[in-house]
């Protein structure tokens, strides 16, 4: 299997063009409509599964508890925590309860609700970028981009790889170099190199570079 894959032309049967419109090994592969767009969108955005599952579990627990209380009440046994009727009356007579506790609890609940609304409506971008490609959809973690840029920046700036720190966000790559004492670093050279690298990656959305060189060097690095 491995030999066949490393040598693509060795025993390639001619594709029967009757069933497939896309001939293999031609550059322009066209997937079924919308599939690649859907994948690209889904891979760069959070599914919001975690908060949804947590909420669903919490709701299940609350509903199960209320259901149990109702059953117990119907059987005429004493309630586990609160009988359904008491739930209702205490909710209606909320204003008679100590104002401080009710206000604090209400505000906390409202803030949690607001946070959930924000989570539900915000796009939830993942720390990833797309790389332009004709055959596949390529998603790459920002971490990988940063690590590759750090290597190039440290080479261009002639500093130790451990003294180059890069963080990549949605539209910007921040390169921070700590020069070795006595060896000056030209930020322009580093910036040019990093920008050229970024351009060669063909990231989507595009990422701009910013280079900062620390004022004080480090000895023995």
């Amino acid at each position: 299997m491995s030999t066949a894959l490393t040598d693509p032309v060795a025993d390639a049967r001619p594709a029967s063009s009757a069933t497939t419109p896309t001939a293999p090994s031609s550059g322009g592969f066209t997937p079924p409509r919308g599939v690649y767009r859907r994948i690209a969108r889904r891979e760069t955005h959070s599914p919001r599964s975690m908060p949804a599952i947590v909420l669903a579990v919490a709701l299940i627990l609350v509903l199960a508890w209320i259901g149990t209380e109702i059953v117990i009440d119907l059987l005429g046994a004493p309630a586990l925590l609160v009988a359904p009727v008491d739930m209702f009356t205490s909710a209606v007579n909320l204003v008679e309860a100590p104002a401080g506790i009710v206000a604090a609890a209400g505000i906390v609940v409202a803030v949690i609700g607001l946070a959930l609304v924000v989570v539900a409506v915000s796009p939830g971008r993942r720390a990833r970028h797309l790389i332009q490609s004709s055959r596949t959809v390529v998603v790459v973690d920002n971490e990988v981009i940063a690590s590759a840029l750090a290597r190039h920046a440290s080479l261009a700036g002639d500093v130790d790889p451990d003294n180059a720190t890069v963080s990549v966000s949605h539209r910007r790559a921040d390169v921070q170099l700590t020069p070795t004492s006595g060896i000056p670093v030209d930020p322009a050279v580093v910036k040019e190199d990093v920008a050229r690298q970024l351009e060669s990656y063909g990231l989507k959305p595009g990422v701009g570079a910013r280079v900062r060189v620390a004022q004080t060097g480090r000895i023995g690095a």
Binding site: P24, A110, S200
Partner: protein, 201 residues
């Protein structure tokens, strides 16, 4: 990549969030704002009377029990079942079949995704740029799509990584005689950090 219904995820979060927001704000307003407090107090007696009237009117035969309570119970059970189904629905969409084609009038050719996975991993695993790789197949819009995730060594150019995997995918195209849609996922991660830096070529 999986078939998680993201719209329902967001809808659930939105509905619960709005509910908590409204309930919390109402409770805080009821005790903090005098006007709201007074109207709430005025309404208390009325609401209590109304609800007890409903409970009286909805007697279940002559048992002395209102059918509102059992109805609420049934609703709670239905809601719990729906929520369990909702949780179980997450993260599905893997498929074991990479290709299915009617090759003649008498039969169908099926290529299992295992074949494709092994072929791709054989081609990718030897490369020094990667510490790990994983290949799986998913159904997206009823089309089988390959997912190839690779973990890069520190400092590997993402473009190089993409090109290596893409070359393997193109070789697979030739091997199968068909082009399968594919996703390449390039990540770094903890294992990449503890492994050695790649050498420049």
């Amino acid at each position: 990549m999986n078939s998680t219904n993201r719209a329902t995820n967001r809808l659930l979060i939105l509905v619960v969030g709005l509910l908590l927001l409204v309930v919390g704000a109402a409770a805080a307003a009821a005790v903090l704002i005098p006007v709201v407090r007074d109207t709430w107090k005025d309404a208390t007696g009325q609401v209590t009377a109304q609800v007890s009237a409903w409970l009286q009117q909805t007697q279940l035969g002559d048992t002395g029990v209102s059918w509102i309570m059992p109805t609420l119970l049934v609703l709670a059970v239905i809601a719990v079942i729906v929520l369990i189904a909702f949780i179980a629905r997450q993260g599905r969409g893997r498929t074991g079949i990479a290709l299915r084609e009617r090759t003649s009038d008498h039969g169908t050719t099926v290529v299992e995704s295992d074949v494709v996975e092994h072929a791709l991993r054989d081609a990718i695993d030897g490369r020094s740029e990667f510490v790990a790789s994983h290949v799986s197949a998913y159904r997206v819009k009823s089309t089988p799509v390959l997912k190839i995730s690779v973990t890069c060594r520190r400092g590997v150019s993402p473009k190089d990584a993409a090109l290596i995997v893409e070359e393997a995918v193109r070789s697979l195209d030739v091997l199968l005689g068909r082009s399968l849609p594919a996703l390449v996922q390039i990540s770094g991660g903890f294992r990449a950090r503890v492994s050695s830096t790649t050498r420049l070529q």
